[in-house]
Symmetry: C2
Subunit: 412 residues, 2 copies
Amino acid sequence: MTNIAILGFGVVGGGVADVILKNNDTIARKTGEHIHIKYILDLREFPDHPLGDRVVHDIGVILSDPEVTVVAEMMGGAHPAYDYSRAALEAGKHVVTSNKEVVATFGAELQEIAAAHHVRYLFEASVGGGIPIIRPMSSCLAANQLFEVDGILNGTTNYILTQMIRAGKSFEDALSEAQKKGYAERNPKADIEGIDACRKICILSALAFGKSFSPDDIHTEGITKITAEDVAAAEMYGGVIKLIGRAGLSNTEDPESDVFMLVAPHVILHDNPLSSVDDVFNSILVRGNAVGDVMFYGRGAGNLPTASAVVADIIEILSHKETDVFVPAWTKASADALFCIEALPYAFLVRMEAGDYMAAAAAIRAAYPDAEILTAADDFKGTIAFVTPLTTEKALRDAFPTPLLSVIRVMP
Amino acid sequence: MTNIAILGFGVVGGGVADVILKNNDTIARKTGEHIHIKYILDLREFPDHPLGDRVVHDIGVILSDPEVTVVAEMMGGAHPAYDYSRAALEAGKHVVTSNKEVVATFGAELQEIAAAHHVRYLFEASVGGGIPIIRPMSSCLAANQLFEVDGILNGTTNYILTQMIRAGKSFEDALSEAQKKGYAERNPKADIEGIDACRKICILSALAFGKSFSPDDIHTEGITKITAEDVAAAEMYGGVIKLIGRAGLSNTEDPESDVFMLVAPHVILHDNPLSSVDDVFNSILVRGNAVGDVMFYGRGAGNLPTASAVVADIIEILSHKETDVFVPAWTKASADALFCIEALPYAFLVRMEAGDYMAAAAAIRAAYPDAEILTAADDFKGTIAFVTPLTTEKALRDAFPTPLLSVIRVMP
């Protein structure tokens, strides 16, 4: 029997308890032992919960109990989650977490502390909810030089965009429906402005390329400016708009080349498997030099899917009891080592106001002779939409110095 | 440095050598050591290959060399692949394999021998080529009681069906194109009759439910009888025909309930993510009681993708050097423990000949008042297509004792 402590008894922490209580026999069949929840750390009391008697309010009780070998941190937020995780590792306890903010910001440091104390810091649940992605990338794809990771990493924004695409809704109406259904929080900023997706792509990028960048240094656009007209223009071009976290090597042949990374709405053409990932589902496409493209798909959030990943990490620890697992280190990297996003080659879907269709079309052809103009002359209502050939955002802005209604990257 | 031996230097064996030679520095960064190919066992000589000097013809050389810690078996076929794998395990060497025939038939036994000799028998490459599926199922989803696995497990048949769907080709024309492109072998029997997919679903089922059934006991239909008319009828119903390997618990709530398993063409409705898996791609959908549905997608064959999985297993062995990994055993199970496929509830897409539309429609309504008749009266050309409500194949055959043109299961 392995004794664990749960830090934070909210939605995910409660889900972890539920999964362990429900599936403990299944888990024991797979690992040879049961999991016992010895402590639950929370500010609140849970007198009516079957595990209510396990609740403590002092992290010291957990840190000083040698019977506790694994700490599951599901508190959310940077502090005190980071501080407690660090203290647990220093006390020689394994830590598993669903906390993407802590992993994205402090992951490199906490992995180093774990290695120094011969314990493990695992975070399968920090990206993609229950979708197996962290271990598959670090283990099953380890024979590859990976060169790109693209993901639909946030279920809330994917639900909103799916509503805009399917039902022609405005962003505001789709957001308010997502809030009604409980898919978006009352304060949806972290989701709709891309902050959540940014933390996740930082984690995936660190896994793929070994360099840990601060989320603050990453070019991050949300979906608040996407309009029904943008959605319609993307459809005319044969695609859908998705919020994508994207990271890759600027030179696919050179693992030491600068990494590019961004979070932004992208037009995804229908032949890309990410295009059919709808509603609250997440999906991550990984590209490697041996395996080609592989994709992982599932529910990116929710108490039970996320708990599935947290408990999988606990099982991983139970299954491999040796104390010195070789874990490749993440190197902390500064923004200087990031490839400049304005110089990253992209085709762009552009919408702009124009007084006269022929004049606008001529201006577009003058700047980009190979541009594809999506708006037909007899559909012209004062705005024109087109897709550039491969260019850079800088060149595009130089070519059209007047304000553009929208500039959306097309996924290569 | 770890010394390995490659058994079988064909397409996959050559791919494994290529991936190791190309990515050895990447691998060393992830594991702390390089891989050295000490021996290659093959009947042939490879005088012009850079590793030509490693070729041996006697398995005894490899078995008796204590420096060889891992044997990678890529010979294909049951014998002598099984015999050599067994001998290597008994000699205290880890074995990794891409050989689905050996894993499906002898997996339970070889895992037992591996455990007894404190080594590991790993087979990530045996299903789905480079797609991470074996370790994600056994490790990342270990917190779940899994209750169903559905997969597009054979790239050749998926390519043929995609050609039939997209270009309206006949089965024969699509097969001959697949052969021209090298996607189908000259003797395509193992692919088009579902034998390859059957071995793979047996492996996935054993992983999910712990019971290893013989492929010979599994209900297996190929795609040779699928016609352009079937494809058109599926489209009228809002779906596509895919060859599916499907295994599940007959009672989703009871992990001890009988397992159902079959390989057969299924109509997949467009809202199922498997419906958009086209060409030679494979995809596996796994359903668990915590995670919900997760899907894994990628190239199911090819030398480099398969090699990616083989080398990942070698890396897994290098990363976890402890000798006693707890591996849940597969229990050999007899056909008696299989749920009867004829009694498995399904909706069926049925096509039948009929002299008279109104009489045929009346007969269908008499048997199944809720059937959906797909053929419109004014399109009637002597055959009629319909979809039954949930029923069983036995009940369907009893209701329509005359020979039916086609009976295709609709994926629930």
